[in-house]
Amino acid sequence: MRRVVITGVGAISALGLNHAEFWRRLCLGESGIGPIQQADVSTIRFKNGAEVRGYDPEQYFQPKHLSFMNRFAQFAVVAAREAVKMAAVKWTPELQDSTAIVTGSCIGGRGSDEAGYRELFTYNRNRVHPLTIPLSMENAGASHISIEFGIQGPTFTISTACSSASHAIGQAFWMVRSGAASMAITGGSEAPMFYGGLKAWEAMRVVSSDTCRPFSADRSGMILGEGGAMLVLEPLETALARGVQPIAEIVGFGMSSDAFHIIQPKQTGPEKAMRSALRDARLDPKDIGYINAHGTATSANDQVEARAIHAVFGERAGTLPVSSTKSMHGHTLGASGAIEAVATVLALRDGVLPPTANYSKPDPACALYVIPNVARKQVVEFALSNSFAFGGLNAVLAFRAYRS
């Protein structure tokens, strides 16, 4: 089996239009959460979200191409371009032929569906925009990346709610590790800020009316976020032969299903996914120095995740650094696994662990060391990134710092 490294990352999020800005603000503990501007929220109980600000689509895409791209697909391509540029990929016909693209998205372009339904049901028109189907399909992000770079290898999209991108990265990792693909572009993107979608989240009563405070006793729910992140994965030996400095190594992937409830989480599922990622990486729990938690700031997730971490890490669970960066970039749903994977690999690269922002009060039910509010300078060799989804589907990635 081949060792697999990450040679490029790209991110567009509420914290900025590229990964450098994302990382700079994460390390400062700055939150990108603010009043939602893309939809009229006057009749919605929550008003805040983590929206991408200052993004002008025409700066990135030709007007003609934009009519074919929902915002979520644009984010996929913007992040992929950045990752490919950072990895200094030189496309050859052989590489285009054998590169894989695996993306995750929960909602895809459903905002375009909504625009069509509004025509039908609100304005009583009898037709919708002719591109509604290709705009809304969840694989649009993967397809647009493929078209952008001429990549003809295995290309597909995984939709497992909030674990989508972690499942995608895990599949891409296994494909590169086994030799099924010579390189992979993988991650996720999401654009959930449209009225009907926000109403559906409101109805679930899991969104905070102010901000996201993971693991804090006064937490009041999640904050929805949008954006996208992509990683370039390739074998270590290929990266070294190309003279490209790896950012970090990806060493393990584990997944599981709670087999319990369509919404309520259960400790055994996340626990099994973490153990499975450790086993895949041939690691012991004591090797792990940082966990980027799922940490949605809902009452149920944070308690269950804390219990699962205690079950896996035993006595170390109270002191092992764990943070939820959702406190800053929001819960980007099907993109969250990718955005948080980028945070995790940059933490390993720089020896800086991003904090859990907005943390005010310890909760005995979440007895973890959450790196409250201020980043921690600490060189760590191995880290996990957790993603747990509605439907009880769990995906955990394991990363290792790369030291040349």
Binding site: P63, K64, S67, F68, R127, P130, L131
Partner: protein, 87 residues
């Protein structure tokens, strides 16, 4: 003087494709204008809105030039006006 159907069709095509108005003429072919099959579906959508007509799938199979579109739209607009006089 009100705009002719031809002028309105050309405007719709130019706007939909985001190309300069002067590039589109009655004799332009879709190929000349770089319009592919998906683009033409967008144009048909915009024409339906502009003229308040319905263009059937069968009527859209062969539209190589702007001239055919103007002719087709003219037929549909005439039929619509006739129907509204009769009712």
């Amino acid at each position: 003087m009100p705009e002719t159907i031809e002028q309105r069709v050309i405007k719709v095509i130019a706007k939909s494709q985001r190309i300069p108005l002067e590039k589109v003429s009655i004799d332009s072919s879709f190929e000349d204008l770089g319009i592919d099959s998906m683009d033409s579906i967008n144009i048909l959508f915009d024409l339906e809105g502009e003229f308040d007509i319905q263009i059937n799938d069968e009527q859209t199979k062969q539209i190589p030039r702007v001239r055919e579109i103007v002719e087709g739209v003219t037929l549909l607009v005439d039929a619509k006006e006739k129907a509204s006089h009769e009712s």
